[in-house]
């Protein structure tokens, strides 16, 4: 990992010096122990801040979209001939590149506006899992070495295996190496366990309709509608989200449980063929709502019905945005 970090810093420095990118989005050391936080680098000497390890959680494609949109908005009042192009460099793992592919397919920006520094990924640590594994108290100090994490809390020290605290999305990740990249740093990471991808969903599908509904209501009852999942999601980029629309008001702003269900239900619905299973929404959720189970179910349906995995190739069209003669029609039947 150290090796990748050094190469990553060199690459970032080179890009900024050669003016190939105006800003580089990467990860830096977080302010709390055992965390990493997204950072934006505009000067070559700042490249030393960049890190790459198992603590880098967030999907950075979200920031790529945010920065490009903000830049385009700022250029609206500039004469067309004076408009400047901004290139965003991004440190991207498999799921980040998938999100970028989705943005490109949805014509959010051009391929030339983003410079992808691909990094191999062997999973990230889910902070909620780590906390539970460490005994539930606040982590005061931490150190990660060779697949083991040493954690110090107020209650004492503990050593946790990295594998045990990896995010659920990463354990069964199919695309842990970048799908598209302008430059690749480090050698490709070994495959995870994609065969077990839908195990959890299959188990859930096997339950009765009452049990499934009870699980949905139970999970949604935890939600406080802080919208962190939406803010973290690279596929949620609408200028005005339906949750904030007031004419008509789709989602009430009170504490009605059904409003929460409607919000989550519609957000899930909007993820058809667009969720890359990066796990950012789960990672940022303060209440520990099991969003992944439902998102994965949608992903499975999309794969079985349209043979499409979100953002897995540049040539694919979004499944809900294309019509093919071979589309399944078994929902039409003679009763």
């Amino acid at each position: 990992m150290e090796n990748i970090e050094t190469k990553l810093r060199e690459e970032a420095q080179r890009l900024l010096l050669e003016k190939k990118a105006d800003v580089i989005i990467g990860y830096e050391k977080g302010t709390l122990p055992l965390t990493a936080t997204p950072c934006f680098i505009t000067r070559p000497e700042e490249a030393e801040k960049l890190i790459w390890n198992n603590l880098c959680t967030q999907n950075l494609a979200k920031f790529v979209h945010d920065l490009i949109t903000a830049h385009k908005n700022s250029q609206k009042r500039v004469k067309p001939e004076d408009r400047k192009k901004k290139v965003i460099g991004v440190v991207a793992r498999g799921c980040t590149t998938r999100s970028i592919i989705i943005h490109l397919q949805e014509r959010q920006y051009d391929r030339g506006e983003v410079y992808i520094i691909g990094v191999p990924c062997d999973g990230y640590v889910e902070s909620k899992k780590l906390r539970t594994a460490a005994g539930g108290a606040d982590i005061i100090e931490g150190d990660m070495e060779g697949g083991q994490i040493k954690v110090k809390t107020a209650e004492g020290e503990k050593t946790v295996a990295l594998k045990e605290v990896l995010s659920d999305s990463c354990r069964t990740c199919r695309y842990n190496n970048p799908i598209i990249s302008d430059v690749m740093v480090g050698s490709p990471a070994p495959a995870m366990n994609p065969e077990a991808e839908y195990d959890q969903v299959k188990e859930f599908e096997a339950k009765s309709i009452e049990e499934r509904w009870a699980y949905f209501t139970k999970e949604m009852a935890k939600c406080i509608r802080c919208n962190a999942c939406r803010q973290a999601c690279p596929s949620c980029y609408c200028p005005t989200c339906f949750a904030e629309q007031s004419m008509p008001q789709w989602v009430g702003i009170g504490e009605d449980a059904t409003d929460t269900q409607v919000f989550q239900f519609m957000r899930l619905y909007h993820m058809v063929g667009r969720c890359v299973d990066c796990g950012s929404c789960v990672a940022v959720c303060p209440m520990g709502v099991d969003l992944r189970n439902f998102l994965k179910k949608i992903d499975k349906d999309c794969w079985e019905m349209f043979g499409n995995r979100a953002g897995s190739s540049m040539e694919d069209m979004p499944p809900l945005g294309k019509f093919s003669e071979n589309d399944k029609e078994d929902f039409i039947y003679n009763p």
């Binding site: 789709w250 059904t258 269900q261």
Partner: protein
């Protein structure tokens, strides 16, 4: 839902979101021809079924409908 299904006298309420040009015209023709249809369906006419937002269906269910029929 489960307790409703156990109740033999319970009748579900449906919201039917229908197209002006086909299903609504059909329902209209049924009315003119004096054909009876169940009263537990509430019809909402839209200019075209393409105008239906998935939200309509979710909101209808949230507001207490037991089922939504989209036709057109």
């Amino acid at each position: 839902m489960a307790e409703n299904l156990a109740n033999k006298e319970w009748e579900p309420k449906f919201v039917a979101i229908v197209c002006n040009w086909c299903t609504y015209a059909g329902a209209d023709l049924a009315g003119i021809s004096r054909i009876q249809y169940p009263t537990n369906v509430r019809i909402i006419r839209v200019p075209c079924t393409g105008r239906i937002n998935p939200f309509y269906i979710v909101k209808a269910l949230q507001s207490g409908a037991d089922g939504v029929l989209v036709s057109g």
